[in-house]
Symmetry: D2
Subunit: 289 residues, 4 copies
């Protein structure tokens, strides 16, 4: 039986900007009887680069799903020298969640998962601690405890990568995972690891940002979700938000209030990623609407 | 010498949604060697209506400015049965400002005007009071005092309309103008009169919304900019914003804090209008990005 | 063993405003060797009413806990004709949660509860549907399914009130409970029933506010937490917040985005209530800082 | 004739925290028949320091204005070893504005000044450029052009300080003044120079923060108002705010949108300062409510 969700496809495109790009891509879709559901484009004028996201209904599209990539490549992508990605909304992405001891982001992720807000599978949760196993068990999700020390990190990451492959994981969410991933690990998932950092980056990168925020006497605190790159807290930002605080708020208050920001900002970033609305270029994230 | 601003054109389009619309419009632009600067589209699925805004560089566009409307009509609009508007960024819009006694919105408008933030002409300010004449004079703008009472309103509006015609006014900003316009007046400027209301509509329409907000004990206050229609405070909303308040704030505090919201929200709405990013349909405002 | 939380007391006071009130209350605390941890006062100038919240450390306070009320009454409250409430932070409040079918607010409440963010007991969850029983069971909380129809409402409320008494419940949270409580029920818990409404009240009271918001074309949506009174959605507001939306958002998008607002706003209101920072007067809520 | 504003006094206090401080201060006011209008206190638990702001009506206060300082010193401040400041709302503070070329903050300051929103005198505007003289002249405020180069800075500051003394200036607002003040200059106005920086500090201190924000791909931009200290952009923060941006916004868009933040955030900081609601301790600003 056909699920309506099986019926759309998404193209993410970027290339050197020039005339006629929108016309060429949309003509390809129109000529094969595709009904565009959403289209959004952007030109980075500084770099002269064109970006586009197009989503179209496959119901009466005349190219069968399995042939679309080939036909698009031949008819559009190669002639125009496009970089492109093709997704089908009918395929449910598989997401791994990495956690340490803080529960709030995991709670929020699992609540959305279990209520069907997101179209996603969570085949496993990975942690360097045992603390959140009971929470994972409430939702019947495999929980893998892989301790990490400075010395065992390479071996631990090796185990993690094996698990991710085994579970056919598409992308990873670091839901307050308190370990720094190596460049080697990150290289396996380019623009595929979403972190939440508990400050409005680039302010207060690294450890204990709420303590630093308190000391600096800021009047806002924030949270930042970004794709992980090799450099700590330097990756392309997907989503940020802040709330107002004042001199009455202790560090504990900042931590408490910040938790709400962290979980909401992380979940918004996951939403954008799941909708295939993100495209990374030059360490900036385009978030299509 | 050519001003770069003289070189782009904007099309606002809406029609019944169907396949191939983006392709057809963008092909028209591409075939005549137009470089699309920005394109945005939207489908109202409830009404089955397609909306689009396209802005393109005229520098090497092969159809001369004065012929674009005709050619677009023949080649695209009539065959597809589109509703459309065409604007040239080279033409500076002419805006009238209506005020009563409150100065803050007028101050904000004139500051932006005088510093060149907006590409707009302000040929005249109209008021039912004399109070703001000195402010208008600081900026050398004609100030017309047209008193309005219940009895004289038809005659006053007649005078106002004559002035607007005489000064070739494109659109009107009610910068805390404390008179209700008649349906007859409004009909002369459909989607062409921008009001600022000092509440988050639809809450607290009509008079003294800060007093009502205080009495209701709300924890936020807001401001709403909308196009004026015949029904008071019911027109399509362009922009809204709020700030947090608490039990300590007296009505005077709400009024003081609200002024900042009002001026910023009104100025954002004017900006969208000046960029030709707004399109009204079924009492809702599409604000293209 | 003494828990540090056992060592403070909170006074909420209101009375006709006059000179010397702060001095009298604080002298009472100082004379008995109480160390003030927090003090906040407010004067409603319109009604001429004085409000105060004082929290003080009981560690070296010279009046034993069980005698404080009597002594305060004799030495301060009766001479000054104060209305007052006394709380000890050592006593954990007991909260009932009422739900229907929507899970997001209950998820959020239970996550905070289980992680110890709030000092509260949740002895029971009451619902007019079975849907959320599995969620309650994840957290080992009694779940009482009491169906409600127009005809059975009096009997259903009778059962509910019996359960609340039996479980010694201090206050009730309506976490998207989709039934209107009768005035009789509400009268049992004055300023003791916290609701979350999915709009920025007073806009869009009653049913289906996101549909109304969509139709009106608002550029913000909001959520409001308030104490329940006999009139639907008219009770004193504790907390409100909004987010920006635009013409692209369908009703489903508004509902999805609104869920995040609802849960956060409700949880902030519960936090204020648990801290004994709220005091209702003339249908407005004072939220001490 | 007496102006109601002439009738209140404000005490700002800080000292080592201990029992009875609120009681002692409020008893002093009550015993002399002072009616407290507002009182707010705060304890910095980390440093063990107590802060308090009390404002009281002088109408029937039994100590004459000119004797209050002496009596408070004898009866309260010396016995308790308090640091304190006393202000009378009847005295209008005198504010100098320093500008360079950007007009938006000066526009906003002058609009509020001329409309009577603030109780303040602006005896002079100082600038290192001629550009904003016409704007100053619109409001009949003396405009002093004092060019500053690396070599002439000491002499320029010497001239500035002489002007400030001559005009009896209480505090200085740097309304996008693009020169760094020396430590010597700053030392003349401790917690008396209010700057607006166009980023959410501590992110992007120094020059061209919007360019840096663009490059980093942040999803929010902000503005920060702080008291100037010897270290650039490191002073105690009074007020901050942010707005959301996205990948579509060019550096010019960030600058344009940021202007609105800058002027509002600066004006809020000035408001707090004028209300004598700020107290600086350990590079943090307490902003009493």
């Amino acid at each position: 039986m056909l699920n309506p969700d099986n019926h759309s496809a998404i193209l993410l495109i970027h290339c050197r900007d020039r005339k006629g790009l929108v016309a060429t891509v949309t003509r390809f879709l129109a000529e094969h009887n595709g009904n565009i559901l959403e289209i959004d484009q952007h030109v980075d004028e500084q770099h002269g680069v064109f970006f586009m996201r197009a989503e179209w209904d496959l119901t009466s599209f005349e190219i069968p799903d399995q042939a679309i990539a080939e036909r698009f490549k031949e008819e559009v992508a190669e002639p125009l020298n496009l970089s492109w990605q093709l997704y089908f909304t009918g395929r449910t992405p598989r997401m791994a969640v990495f956690v340490s001891k803080y529960a709030h982001c995991l709670h929020d992720v699992l609540a959305r998962y279990s209520s069907g807000e997101w179209k996603v599978e969570i085949p496993l949760i990975v942690s360097n601690h045992e603390d959140l196993r009971p929470l994972a068990e409430k939702y019947d999700i495999d929980y893998h405890h892989i301790p990490v020390t400075r010395d065992t990190k390479p071996e631990a990451e090796h185990q993690q990568l094996a698990l991710l492959r085994e579970h056919d994981v598409d992308f990873i969410v670091l839901a307050r995972y308190m370990q720094i991933l190596t460049g080697n690990f990150v290289a396996h998932y380019p623009a595929g690891i979403i972190n939440i950092h508990h400050s409005f980056l680039p302010a207060f990168p690294g450890a204990r940002p709420y303590h630093s925020a308190y000391r600096r006497g800021v009047k806002i605190i924030g949270a930042t979700s970004h794709y992980v790159t090799e450099e700590l807290d330097q990756g392309p930002i997907i989503e940020q938000d802040v709330i107002h605080v004042n001199h009455r708020h202790s560090v504990d208050d900042l931590i408490r209030k910040g938790r709400d920001l962290e979980k909401i900002v992380l979940s918004r970033a996951i939403w954008h990623h799941l909708q295939r609305k993100t495209l990374v270029f030059e360490n900036r994230t385009i978030v299509f609407q």
